[in-house]
Symmetry: C2
Subunit: 146 residues, 2 copies
């Protein structure tokens, strides 16, 4: 079974378990999220969903993205200077590399964060529940086209 299919099922299951109805619009949104290799914005999801359901409204995308985020099925990357981006395939905290030119977002491998979190709890007394690690720079593609 392809990964996309697995994610779809997982998200549908999470919706069902929480008594959310399975509507065509919802399925279309899940499909976009599961198939997306990148980190789509609400607008990008909107465009893709509209190609199959032309009457879908932006508000519906926002509402459903919020539901999925609250169910822990979607990671929201808020950028204050830009629109939010979403990851429906790895809906848990992980580092990102963001190209400041084309706004591409990648997921680099990086392990040592668990250690840092533990050290932090010891040092500050905080109960750490979430983190956010973003690196910003210029991707190879954008460096080439200078």
């Amino acid at each position: 079974m392809p990964d996309t299919e697995i994610r779809m099922r997982k998200m549908v299951q999470a919706l069902r378990e929480n008594r959310y109805r399975i509507t065509p619009q919802r399925l279309a949104i899940l499909k976009v999220l599961a198939e997306s290799k990148g980190h789509p914005s609400v607008d990008s999801i909107y465009d893709q969903v509209r190609s199959r359901f032309p009457t879908t409204s932006l508000a519906t995308i926002y509402k459903n993205v919020a539901v999925l985020r609250d169910l822990g099925q979607l990671l929201e990357l808020g950028f204050s200077d830009d629109c939010n981006r979403y990851d429906g395939n790895k809906p848990y905290d992980h580092p990102h590399v963001v190209c400041t030119v084309c706004r591409k977002i990648l997921d680099p491998d990086m392990s040592s964060l668990a250690d840092m979190t533990q050290a932090l709890t010891r040092e500050t007394g905080f109960t750490i529940t979430r983190h956010r690690l973003d690196f910003f720079g210029i991707c190879p593609d954008c460096q080439a086209s200078r």
Copy 2:
């Protein structure tokens, strides 16, 4: 000379070097930023400046904060789900610990980031120019008052 004084002078110098005029409002904003131990929001700066210059407008705070940020004298922490916060004392990238209850922000000690950045350049080919590392959790004070 107290640290506050040093930061004030440094910021004034940066403004002068870039042909920005030194106005009373600007000085008041610099003072708030240099004296602030925490990470004030625009609104908080606004309130503090108004206690001495009651006619100051919010737009002026925004404009000056943008100038200082662009001059590299102020670190902007954008939170998409909340208002931006600023650090005028350490205007360079560094990790933060954010209490999700009281919105307090601390600067923990943490070194290993330089290594991570280097590893990343090797792995992704990105030219890394900035990073952002935030940990979210509940501070000791807020844990106590539960």
